[in-house]
Structures are given as structure tokens and as C-alpha cells.
Symmetry: C2
Subunit: 371 residues, 2 copies
């Protein structure tokens, strides 16, 4: 990362290697094309049009979003077939209804019967029906009805039986892959989530409910898929387009697949406490990861001897992993390149991303924010 | 916080009680007016024009900023006498020079001789001189030359002796007040920082350097000042305009002084694991504080029985502090009001703040972002 372009960037700066982004996107597209499974990439990590174009192979169709602001943003940029994969928030039903009436396909997600009642109260115009995915919890422990509870099947039946509402799919997030270490553990969770989801699909069929899609996701499971995932309709990973240190530790990728950095400059030498200061605080990196890496809050590229010990709003304190710092190696004004622990959290802190290719800045991407 | 306006807000929403903001600002202005010390409020917490107007009592003069983006933003809105209280970053000297040429008073901060060399290389036009504050470290341990080191006085002398550069002030941040608990401990740190700063001012005088200002700051020290602070020229607190749970635990304020909230709605009931989900993830609250409060990542207003246990990007998991949750008390779609652990970190996550007074929304504030 001693690329020529870095010297002209004001720091802290969030940089995106667009060639790595394209490779990550292509690998995921090809992997699931081979498996015959629709990739519905998640936009939450980057929230930009440019990166969405890369992830969808230019199709501008079939995406997942985490906020309604993202859904509106992508709709405004010509995207369609958008799945708002979030437990239907009752304050946003009207805005969801307007998007559903405006787009060819806008999907919402439901995991409780009160949400179904909200949809009934807001029938769509133009004879349209709500496209509803039911969230199933396959041992992840966040949103969704646990697969093992009878009320999961009951809710699916209720959705399917409701006028003006279609049961379009069953959606499971295997966020429990984030506690895995290595391919074997990831594949075990991917297999379990796939099996439980497919078993639920069988229950639906047995209940006479046909034509319902199935989708599971998480970057680890989709980076290390199991063959049974070919029996799913869709998958919905998101982080893979950037990857990060966390994903490399889980076993989703290697560090060479990480497309993003925070560039930061040395702003002070404090030999009396064996520390450098850099111009990267939590406003530029986030506190995600809690500083538990051997190198603290990030991996400092090319400098395994350094640790990002702590951050305040605009300052980062760097010390030696062991022994005394050789300050002459890090002159004030010189650049360091941080590989983020969690790319989603770091990208979120930046109003603009600096995009580079082959050592040159080729543009900027501006994410959408808010809800 | 069952105010009428809340029901119409989409969540998560960052709300500001403007009456509390005005009270916090007035108390601080009056406190230091009585002491005969200039209040130079810090903008880093909110980064809005509206709140800056309140903090400066409408003067639009004499502020501190943490980023050059803030400096430019305030200059663009008619502010002047702006102190960029950050170790001069070498990539931003040209932008600093332009601001110094454009404004009546634009101050930079320096804590090393390499930075002074950078200023020499960029003389100001129109016969202007750089206004430089020297950062002194009075046992805080972040930026600044330690007060006890001979090179501190040497740097001050070098700044004062440099053509085209004025030594305008000495600046100390007593961030070490953040590890205090209670008035007595805060006052001890405030006293120590004041004493060390004033001793340094005496050394300057003894060296024949006169007319240099002195400033210390931090919200705890300025909320619990010691009489000797009357001998300083300025103080520079910032967070006090919002306050937060952290400040109440330190002893800077009571919880009734906290002006900001994150409003969030219940989006799911998960009785099998005794948890609620709310629509507030780390994108709306930040991970600041590390979840170490007895009530987790925030104080849930009016609900001491609840704990914000964990957050992912857009989901917050709430459990009972002890025993079983009575889910009927928190219907899906109902609102909870979170008091942030660290208002600076939470405000940073929001592209817009919803401002209310006497139970009604009276406007929105839009902060500046970036560097």
C-alpha cells in the first residue's frame, strides 16, 4: 500500500481497491451460478450504487437491504426486486407500501403475526399483493421464529392464507457462522442452517403451500458453501465484497481478499510512553472488535510490530507489540494503512470512499445513510 | 419521554431536547463569565450550526473544532476565531493556510518542531502570521509535550521566535478527568491541570514570552471547576451541551441534564430466550462504552428493568436485568428511549438530529461530517 495515490489523500481516508471488489464479486456470482442458486447480494456493507452494480453484475435486480433508506436509494437509482430483510417496523409500513406499489418487486420480511396484521391494514393499490418472506431462526438467535416451534409453520400458513399477501420466501440468517473458526466449523453451520431451512420447506409442501423460495446467508457460509446449498433458491451474503480482518479470522477469506483500508498519518511521537499518535480515531474506524486483535483495533499493513491500542474521537494511539518503538521508521506525516476488523462498521463512518485501481484513484463512491 | 411527537418519528431517531441544550449552554457561559474566563466551546459533539449558535450565545466567534471539515463548515456559516485544536496534520497545511488567510482568526495547534517547520514552509499572504497554540500534556497522555520535559519550553520559545508565526496560546486537554468518579476527583484533576498549565505560563514569562493565552478543557473539569481556573484565559469543553450517561457517572451532571436520546421501537418478541429486539443497532448508538453499564450499552429511560445486551448493525437485543420479561409491557411497535453512554459517539452515527421543545418537534439539525 505504498501506492502513489495515497500521498495526495487527506487522512483519515477510507479506500476501496475496486479490482479486489470485482474479484470478490465475481467469485461469489460464479460460485452460486455453478450451484444453480440465485445470488441476492446484501447492500448493507457499502450502501453505494457503484458497488451494487458490481455485485449484481450490472443487472440492478435482486438485492437485499438492511434499511428502508437503502431500499429507497436503490429504487431511485433504477434498482428493482429489492428485499427489505428486516422485521417489518410498524412505523414504516406506509413507506413500504409506496415502494411495493412503485416497484415490480419489493419484498418485506415478517416474523410475527402482529406484523401480518399491519400488512392487512395497508392493502396495496393496483391489485398488487405484498411479497412477504418469513424469517426463520435456525439457531442464530436474533430475529425469526425458531424452526422448531409449531408457530413457525402456523405463521407461514397464515401468511399464505391472507388475501393481498403472498408468502414469497423463507429467510434464514446464519449469523452464528461469525463465531466459527475455519472452514470445517463454517461448513457445519452452513449445513445445519441449510438442512433446517429445507426441512421447513418440506413442512410447507406437506401443508400444501407450494412455490415458496428459500434463502440463507452470511458471508462465511456463502464463502465456504456446502453442496446442499444447491437445493436453496437463493443466498444473501453482503460483507464478502469488501471482506475484513474478522472474516479472515473466521476463515471466509485470506487477508489478500480484503478490499478496504483506512489510511492514516502519524501526527505525533511520544517516546516517553513509547507511543505514536495517528489521525484515525473511532470516527474513522469504529470501535468494532473491541481491540481484541493481537494488533489491537486493526491490522496495520506491513507493520506486524505495531498495535492500535486505543482510539478517542480523532486520535489513535499506536504502540509496539513488544519492546521499544523505532520512531525513525514512522516519521511525523508518514502514512500507515489499517485493515479494518469489521468493514461494515468502518465503511459506516465515512461519507465518501476513495476508489483505486492499479495504484491510482479512479473515483469516489458516496454511500446512503439513515433509515 | 412519552411526548406526543415521538409517535410520528421513524426510528431509530436521534433526538435533542433544545431546552436542555439551552440550559446546559447557559450554565456554562454564566459559570465562566463569573470567573472572568473566556468560554471557547468545542463543536465536536454536535457539529451543527444551530447548536454552535446556542453555545456561543449567538456570537459566532471563539470556538474549537476537532476536524478541518468542521473549521471550513463554520467558516462558511460566518463563524470566526476558530481554533483547530488538533496536532497539525501535514497533509492539511495548505487548507489551514487558506482558512488563516480568509478568517480574522484561525488558530492551529502544534506539539512538535516538525510541525513548526511545516508552517514555516507555508508563509501566510497579506502579511498575516500563523496563530499557534502549543499543546501541553499535563498528565493526560494523548497529544502534547509533557509539561515536565525541557523541550516543552524549548518548543514554545522556538514558536515565539519564528518569523510569520505567533505563539498565541498554550492548550491542555484534561481527558484524564474521564477516569474520575465524583466531584472531588474531578476537581483534583482540574486543579492539577490548571496548576501545571499556570506554572508553564510562568516559565514562559520568565523566558520573556508575554501575552500568551492559556486554555484547559474537558467537560468534567469545566462542569466542576476549581477557583484557580479563574487565572486561565480560556476553557474549551464541548460535550456538556448534550451530556450523557458517561458524564453522569463521572459526576459532571445528573441524568436530568442529558439532552439527547435515541428513540427505538420494539420489532420482535423472543420469549424462548427472554429477549426483545429493537430497531437500534450500532449504526444508531455506536459501540462506545463497551456495554459495561448495568443496563448494557445505554440507560433505557423509565425502564430500569431492561438491559441493552448487544447490538448488530441494525438490531438491538434487550433482556431483563433479572428474571423474566413481561412482554405485554413492550408491545411490538412500541417505543423505548435510550440515553446514550457517549453522546459524541452516538450523534456521530446520525445524518440528522430531531430537535424538540415542550413535547413538539421544532426542527432538525444537520451535522457536518468528514475531515
Amino acid at each position: 500500500m505504498a501506492a502513489e495515490f495515497t500521498k495526495d489523500l487527506c487522512t483519515p481516508a477510507f479506500t476501496v481497491d475496486v479490482d479486489t471488489v470485482k474479484r470478490n464479486a465475481r467469485v461469489m456470482l460464479e460460485r452460486f451460478e455453478k450451484l444453480g442458486v440465485q445470488l441476492r447480494p446484501h447492500m448493507k456493507t457499502h450502501k453505494t450504487v457503484e458497488c451494487a452494480d458490481i455485485m449484481t453484475g450490472g443487472a440492478r435486480r435482486c438485492i437485499v437491504v438492511s434499511t428502508l433508506a437503502e431500499a429507497s436509494f436503490y429504487a431511485d437509482h433504477g434498482y428493482d426486486d429489492i428485499l427489505y430483510a428486516y422485521p417489518l417496523p410498524f412505523d414504516k409500513v406506509e413507506r413500504c407500501g409506496q415502494l411495493a406499489e412503485r416497484l415490480a418487486l419489493f419484498h418485506v420480511l415478517v416474523d410475527n403475526s402482529a406484523a401480518l396484521e399491519e400488512l392487512k391494514k395497508r392493502p396495496l393499490k393496483q391489485g398488487k399483493s405484498w411479497h412477504v418472506w418469513m424469517k426463520l431462526d435456525c439457531d442464530n438467535g436474533r430475529a425469526g421464529i425458531p424452526y422448531s416451534e409449531p408457530r413457525a409453520l402456523q405463521l407461514a400458513k397464515d401468511i399464505a392464507a391472507t388475501a393481498g399477501v403472498n408468502l414469497t420466501g423463507v429467510y434464514a440468517h446464519c449469523g452464528n457462522t461469525y463465531s466459527c473458526q475455519g472452514e470445517e466449523q463454517i461448513k457445519a453451520v452452513a449445513q445445519e442452517t441449510t438442512t433446517l431451512t429445507l426441512q421447513f420447506m418440506e413442512k410447507l409442501k406437506a401443508a400444501g403451500i407450494e412455490g415458496v423460495k428459500s434463502s440463507i446467508g452470511s458471508t462465511p457460509s456463502c464463502s465456504q458453501p456446502v453442496p446442499d446449498m444447491a437445493m436453496l433458491s437463493e443466498v444473501h451474503p453482503g460483507n464478502y465484497v469488501f471482506y475484513d480482518v474478522q472474516q479472515s479470522l473466521i476463515g471466509s477469506c485470506s487477508l489478500t481478499d480484503v478490499a478496504v483500508r483506512v489510511l492514516t498519518r502519524v501526527i505525533g511521537h511520544y517516546p516517553h510512553r513509547n507511543q505514536l499518535l495517528v489521525d484515525c480515531g473511532w470516527t474513522a474506524l469504529s470501535h468494532d472488535g473491541g481491540g481484541k486483535l493481537p494488533t489491537g483495533y486493526a491490522v496495520i499493513e506491513g507493520h506486524p510490530e505495531l498495535k492500535l491500542l486505543a482510539m478517542t474521537q480523532e486520535h489513535g494511539r499506536i504502540e509496539a507489540v513488544s519492546g521499544k518503538l523505532d520512531f525513525s521508521k514512522y516519521p511525523i506525516g508518514s502514512m500507515l494503512s489499517l485493515m479494518p476488523y469489521h468493514a461494515c462498521a468502518t465503511a459506516m463512518m465515512h461519507p465518501v470512499y476513495y476508489v483505486h485501481s492499479h495504484g491510482k484513484i479512479v473515483g469516489t463512491w458516496t454511500p446512503t445513510r439513515g433509515w
